[in-house]
């Protein structure tokens, strides 16, 4: 164990996996940086969030590939390289840019295995930065993962802390199916205990960072630390909650959610996305159809409003679900 930031944990996972397996490559915009620059320095960026920092020094530019601003070509090249035997980790700088490469993700990589009768595999990992909180505006702050959770053939990972970031990225790279790995940009600097060396977390196994009796809270990504705050703030009112962090939303560990619900009977789902066709309504819908009997009251959905992400600090703060709104929803669920 050692204390590392979410960013450092991801970087460590990449180093370890690239050392372990020579078929792992990294490609994307500025994953090294400095190509064609006047200083002659490579690794000038190491990814604009620094997650791929240092890789080119050890692995060279045949395995750490800077690309033009051509997301369809980046993701498509990743998918093609994966079909041809590599394990590419393609970086989509911001999740919002899925708009310029969705086809290669959802009609190509995601469908190869099925369309081709199980005979082609596509072990592609797409790493991407998502989420609001840094006033980057409507086109650089979206969560996006609900759109891709809807796509059969993809596995969707949303780590909420440094240890999971490392353990899930290692699993993603070793997985034989295409994985979209959503990193919350407001978490990159968040530090936590991270197991050293080989630490791989299986997909489809949720974590439960809080345990309690009165309510089950399911939260995703950055909403997990916010929910921990909310839950802890209710302790002095004698309210305790199970907090379920799915870690992967596809596959989704419904067992743990259902199990917890049998005990608590109350459900709050917290998702940074706008409400429609979100993970919040998705999980609520699954529960209402498969675990209805456990519900002792209405499910509370805590999401962003049905609006784009605004720029101004005050507006963005009002937009993103925070500990207060989560605590409020828990109170309503428990009292209601």
């Amino acid at each position: 164990m050692s204390i590392k930031s979410y960013r450092e944990a991801l970087n460590e996972a990449l180093f370890e996996e690239m050392r372990r397996d020579p078929s792992v490559i990294v490609l994307g915009e500025d994953v090294s940086g400095g190509a064609g620059g006047t200083s002659g320095t490579r690794d000038a960026a190491g990814g604009i969030f620094g997650v791929t920092k240092g890789l080119i020094g050890e692995f060279g530019d045949e395995r750490v590939i800077d690309t033009p601003i051509s997301e369809s070509a980046i993701i498509g090249a990743g998918a093609g390289a994966a079909a041809a035997g590599l394990r590419p980790v393609a970086e989509l700088m911001f999740a919002d840019f899925v708009g310029v490469c969705l086809d290669q993700i959802y009609n190509q990589a995601a469908k190869f295995r099925y369309m081709f009768g199980g005979k082609m595999q596509c072990p592609l990992v797409i790493r991407t930065a998502m989420g609001a909180g840094m006033n980057m505006g409507a086109q650089h702050s979206q969560t996006i993962y609900p759109m891709l959770t809807a796509v059969p053939g993809l596995k969707i990972v949303v780590p909420s802390n440094a240890a999971d970031a490392k353990g899930l990225l290692k699993t993603a790279i070793r997985d034989d199916d295409p994985v979209v790995f959503f990193e919350h940009k407001a978490l990159y600097n968040k530090k936590g205990e991270v197991p050293d060396g080989d630490h791989a977390i299986p997909f489809g196994e949720a974590d439960m960072p809080r345990e309690g009796d009165d309510c089950t809270v399911v939260a995703i990504g950055r909403m997990v630390p916010f929910s921990e705050k909310a839950i802890d703030s209710l302790a002095d009112q004698g309210i305790s909650c199970d907090l379920v962090d799915p870690r992967t939303v596809s596959p989704l560990d419904t067992d743990l959610i259902f199990e917890s619900l049998e005990h608590t009977g109350r459900l709050v789902v917290v998702d940074e996305s706008p409400p429609r066709c979100s993970l919040a309504s998705d999980i609520a819908g699954i529960v209402a159809s498969e675990a209805f009997g456990s519900l002792r009251g209405p499910i509370r959905l805590v999401t962003a409003p049905h609006a784009p992400v605004p720029f101004a600090r005050e507006l963005e703060r009002a937009y993103v679900p925070g500990p207060d709104r989560i605590a409020q929803a828990i109170l309503e669920a428990v009292k209601g």
């Binding site: 490559i25 490609l27 045949e62 395995r63 590939i65 690309t67 033009p68 051509s70 369809s72 070509a73 980046i74 993701i75 498509g76 090249a77 990743g78 998918a79 093609g80 390289a81 994966a82 079909a83 041809a84 035997g85 590599l86 590419p88 086809d103 290669q104 009609n107 190509q108 190869f112 295995r113 099925y114 369309m115 081709f116 009768g117 199980g118 005979k119 082609m120 595999q121 059969p152 053939g153 596995k155 997985d175 034989d176 199916d177 489809g204 596959p251």
Partner: protein, 323 residues
């Protein structure tokens, strides 16, 4: 044609003839019913697929299009497995899950037909990243139509290939039409090759109805790629003998256009004339192949029609390796 051995010539003719008969027969069978979906036939363009793939082996990859039967056969996919796939049978190349527009066979280096126009070139570029890293002088090629040449993904793929100096070839097949729209309308530049050249790679044009012209031009590009010379583009003018898909009334085509092309631009006829005139092969050699091919196609249709559909339980298999 000097470069080609007698066996190579026979092999090329067999492949072209197999494609032709495969498509001619499909055209009939589809009209009879019994084949699901809608199907795009490659007849008329055989020289392109075969002339390009004659330079490739199973370790080289190609990415294809919605009009992929010819590319599959040229790259060595099993004809009966293809026919069964097109019929939607359990033992088709893709277990009946893909169909005509989604035939792939990665063991043959065939990365798949693709129902998304422009979907293939980025894949071929990525496969070239792999073959170069694996370091055995292997190359990749993508096929794109005149219509597909206007898709942004294709332009991005070309620039990326140039930037990374990848061993890949962009093959453009100008058959004159993008569905119901003429290439002269939708391709704004003088031609596809000059636009590709603008991306900073060698680009040449050749007659796609002349197998030898295709073979030579493709050979130059593929050799360049194998030798580390980076990507190239080759544009072939060709023609499709059928509509965009089987059932297309083709109102956009002059009445006599297809008949005229079958008369004057038939790559199989041309090949036969050239090899006989050049004393490379005898008419009997070719007739014998014609016979065998017809039998192969009969056989494949019979097997496909006799084969069982997939088990409905398979609707949910093959989505993931594990989930």
């Amino acid at each position: 044609m000097t470069e080609l051995s007698r066996d190579a010539l026979l092999h090329a003719y067999r492949r072209m003839k197999t494609i032709r008969e495969f498509e001619e027969r499909l055209n009939l069978e589809i009209q009879k019913g019994g084949i699901p979906g809608f199907t795009h036939l490659y007849a008329g363009q055989e020289a392109v697929a075969v002339g390009v793939c004659a330079h490739l082996d199973a370790g080289d990859y190609i990415a294809s299009t919605h009009r992929g039967h010819g590319h599959c056969i040229a790259k060595g996919c099993d004809v009966t497995g293809m026919m069964k796939e097109i019929y939607g049978r359990h033992d088709g190349l893709c277990k009946g899950k893909g169909g005509s527009m989604h035939i792939a066979d990665v063991d043959q280096g065939m990365l798949g037909a693709n129902a998304i126009v422009g979907g293939g070139p980025p894949l071929a570029v990525g496969a070239a990243i792999a073959t170069r890293l694996q370091g055995e002088g292997r190359v990749t090629a993508s096929f794109t139509g005149d219509g597909g040449s206007n898709q942004g993904t294709v332009f991005e793929a070309m620039n990326l290939a140039v930037v990374l100096k990848l061993p890949t070839v962009f093959v453009f097949e100008d058959n004159g039409y993008s569905e119901h729209t003429g290439a002269g309308y939708a391709v704004g530049s003088d031609d596809i090759a000059s636009r590709a050249a603008g991306f900073g790679m060698p680009a040449e044009k050749a007659d796609g109805c002349d197998f030898f012209a295709v073979y030579e031009a493709a050979g130059r590009a593929i050799r360049r790629a194998r030798e580390g010379g980076g990507p190239s583009a080759v544009e072939f003018s060709t023609t499709r003998f059928f509509g965009h898909f089987v059932g297309d009334p083709q109102n956009y085509r002059a009445k006599d256009e297809v008949a005229h092309h079958r008369e004057t631009r038939d790559c199989l006829k041309n090949f036969r004339e050239q090899v006989i005139a050049g004393n490379r092969l005898a008419g009997d050699d070719l007739d014998a192949i014609d016979e065998e091919v017809l039998q192969l196609i009969d056989q494949s249709v019979a097997e496909a029609q006799a084969s069982a559909p997939p088990d409905v339980g398979d609707v949910i298999t093959d989505v993931y390796s594990h989930y």
